[in-house]
């Protein structure tokens, strides 16, 4: 026991030594920049997930923004995150399957990026395989059908760059770049991508009045005997417009892509994908995990009369044996008008979210 005490007191001594050591180096002071929580979220849902070991700072966010738009992360300097996640498309792209740097197509549709700090379960990708944004950002750089780089090479390019080492120092207090710091900076930028200024948001805030068609569309969305969309896609009380949960919404009888089932290994999860947010649909076509639907009309027709039964279909796809919820032509038009009222032009035009200089 005495030995243990000795070791512990040694640790005490060491830790006090290293503390003074750090102090002499500390010459950087990043500016804290907590997320701006929109009123519409503050009054309805829980606060965003804060990353304890990656606090938001102005320097971190700016560095992350630069990295996000910089092709330096790809092996041949041809592709940035923004190549598949473009601001004008609410940070997705218009392709069904995005092309990687080698021209190889993936098998999934790129995902729009916004309000990700409110993804309370912190599960990213269509199948939820990455836990946390920082972990997620490790993947695209080395994905052979995306940026096809190695982290050691990406870090070397950044380290040899004229500007980056200083920017990393400003953000994190070190000139030595590593993959962890790269993903931290990118994640800080991604967390600032907040969308909360759609027509529907403004309607909730009492700033504008929606059209009769949009309002009826909202009722179709909320009505269990009509669209019944709200169980998975939020409501005025959950303005994320997603439950961030995994469901099979009746696309296929058998699955080429097992989705959540690949990750959990549970056959009951086959064919389940993360419910996407319905914000910004105006900019994010094509739709679904494989981009199979080119338009919102296709999506609405799917839920109305195109449902396909399978072992894992969600019971909330309740009218599957009738092919769907059988919306009238007017209800379809109104539902579409309502869905589009969730799109946020201010978000895609926000100067803070565009490519730096």
């Amino acid at each position: 026991m005495l030995k243990r005490i000795k070791i512990i007191s040694l640790i005490f001594i060491f830790s006090s030594c290293s503390e003074t050591g750090i102090e002499t180096y500390t010459a950087y002071s990043p500016t804290p920049s907590p997320l701006n929580i929109p009123q519409i979220f503050a009054s309805t849902i829980l606060p965003p997930i804060q990353s304890i070991d990656n606090p938001q700072t102005e320097e971190g966010v700016q560095l992350g923004r630069k990295l996000f738009f910089d092709t330096i992360l790809s092996v041949d300097d041809s592709q940035s995150c923004a190549s598949c996640h473009s601001p004008e498309n609410a940070f997705t792209d218009t392709d069904r399957f995005s092309e990687g740097i080698d021209g190889i197509l993936g098998n999934r549709n790129s995902m729009p990026l916004f309000n990700m700090a409110w993804n309370y379960d912190n599960k990213f990708f269509w199948d939820g395989r990455s836990f946390g944004l920082e972990k997620q950002a490790l993947e695209p750089v080395i994905d052979p059908i995306e940026m096809h780089n190695t982290w050691s090479n990406a870090v070397l390019s950044l380290q040899n760059d004229l500007e980056y080492p200083q920017l990393f120092f400003d953000a994190f207090g070190t000139l030595v770049i590593d993959s962890l710091l790269v993903t931290k900076a990118i994640s800080q930028f991604e967390r600032t991508l907040i969308s909360s200024n759609s027509r529907f948001d403004k309607h909730l805030l009492g700033e504008i009045t929606l059209t009769a068609s949009e309002l009826n569309g909202f009722n179709v969305f909320m009505d269990e005997t009509k669209g019944d969309c709200f169980h998975c896609h939020g409501s005025q009380n959950n303005p994320l417009w997603t439950d961030n949960n995994f469901h099979n919404n009746g696309l296929d009888a058998t699955f080429l892509d097992l989705g959540l089932g690949i990750i959990t290994g549970d056959p009951n999860d086959n064919g389940k994908f993360k419910s996407p947010s319905l914000r910004n649909l105006k900019f994010t076509a094509p739709f679904m995990h494989d981009g199979r639907f080119a338009s919102l009309d296709d999506v609405i027709n799917h839920y109305s009369e195109g449902l396909i039964n399978s072992l894992t279909i969600d019971p909330l796809m309740k009218s599957v044996n009738d092919g769907g919820v059988q919306l009238s032509a007017t209800d379809k038009i109104d539902l579409k008008a309502f869905l589009l009222s969730l799109s946020d032009d201010e978000f895609i035009n926000n100067p803070d979210f565009q490519a730096p200089n």
């Binding site: 005490i5 829980l46 269990e224 009380n237 019971p315 309740k318 044996n321």
Partner: protein, 256 residues
């Protein structure tokens, strides 16, 4: 004065000794406070059900329909312990029980509960009228637990889903309960109060509140899924039958 370093050593030493001393913990004779854990456990008759049974285990209900379960989530509120002399102690405001695998939520622990003999346990299934306030609870909103305003608003009391019928030709059911809509803009409260047996509370007590899921389909109404499967939220008769059948689903289980 004892030098600081020595003091640290002494403190450390004392705490280490404390660790070895576990067996001799002296019970304070005047302790009157304990910690209670309330576990919500789920059964089909006498068979215990967990999320591992979801989608695969089949159950035969009172009406002889074969069914599976894929979701069981419900709200209880005002969980309260009662003494024979009329005193009572509220353990918490509300709790969303959820059997789903990773995020399962089936247990409440409360410390600072006076030990002694409690004659009954009560709670509300769902929210009573005063508590069922549209949009008022951020955690429940975040869980998309809201009940549509056109049906009276507030929150779901239960989402209980699965499929019934023979494999290959199953139909979904969505036994969702909340405020009942009589007609457009006319609503009826649909919560019910549950009171079950009490128990003796010690310093560490765990109690089990059992839900017999089969009772939702049994008593007094023999539930016919071919009549009531979905949509049920908008179905006034179905909402009332859920309320009646729900009254007998809970009981006190093992206490130790």
């Amino acid at each position: 004065m004892i030098p600081f370093k020595k003091l640290v050593l002494i403190v450390l030493l004392v705490s280490f000794l404390g660790c070895d001393d576990n067996e001799n913990t002296i019970i304070d004779p005047i302790t009157t406070i304990g910690t209670i854990t309330v576990d919500f456990n789920h059964y089909w008759g006498s068979e215990k059900i967990t999320s591992a049974d979801f989608n695969t285990t089949t159950f035969t209900n009172e009406n002889n329909d074969i069914q599976t379960i894929s979701k069981l989530k419900y709200l209880i509120s005002n969980l309260t312990l009662h003494k024979a002399n009329g005193e009572s102690l509220k353990l918490n405001d509300y709790y969303l029980v959820d059997l789903a695998g990773l995020n399962s939520n089936t247990s409440i622990t409360v410390s600072d509960v006076p030990v002694g003999n409690y004659s009954s346990v009560s709670f509300t299934f769902g929210f009573n009228e005063a508590d069922n306030i549209e949009g008022a609870y951020l955690d429940l909103n975040s869980a998309s637990w809201n009940w549509p305003a056109m049906l009276g608003g507030g929150y779901h009391f239960m989402q209980f889903e699965g499929k019934y019928g023979t494999t290959g030709t199953e139909n979904p059911y969505a036994y969702h309960m909340g405020t009942a809509r009589v007609s457009t803009d006319v609503f009826e409260q649909n919560f019910f109060d549950v009171s079950i047996n009490g128990f003796i509370m010690g310093e560490e007590t765990s109690t089990e509140i059992k839900m017999d899921i089969s009772e939702w389909f049994k008593n007094p109404y023999t539930w016919d899924l071919s009549v009531y499967s979905t949509p049920l939220m908008t179905n006034y008769d179905a909402q009332l039958l859920m309320n009646q059948n729900g009254q007998s689903v809970f009981s006190l289980g093992v206490v130790n």
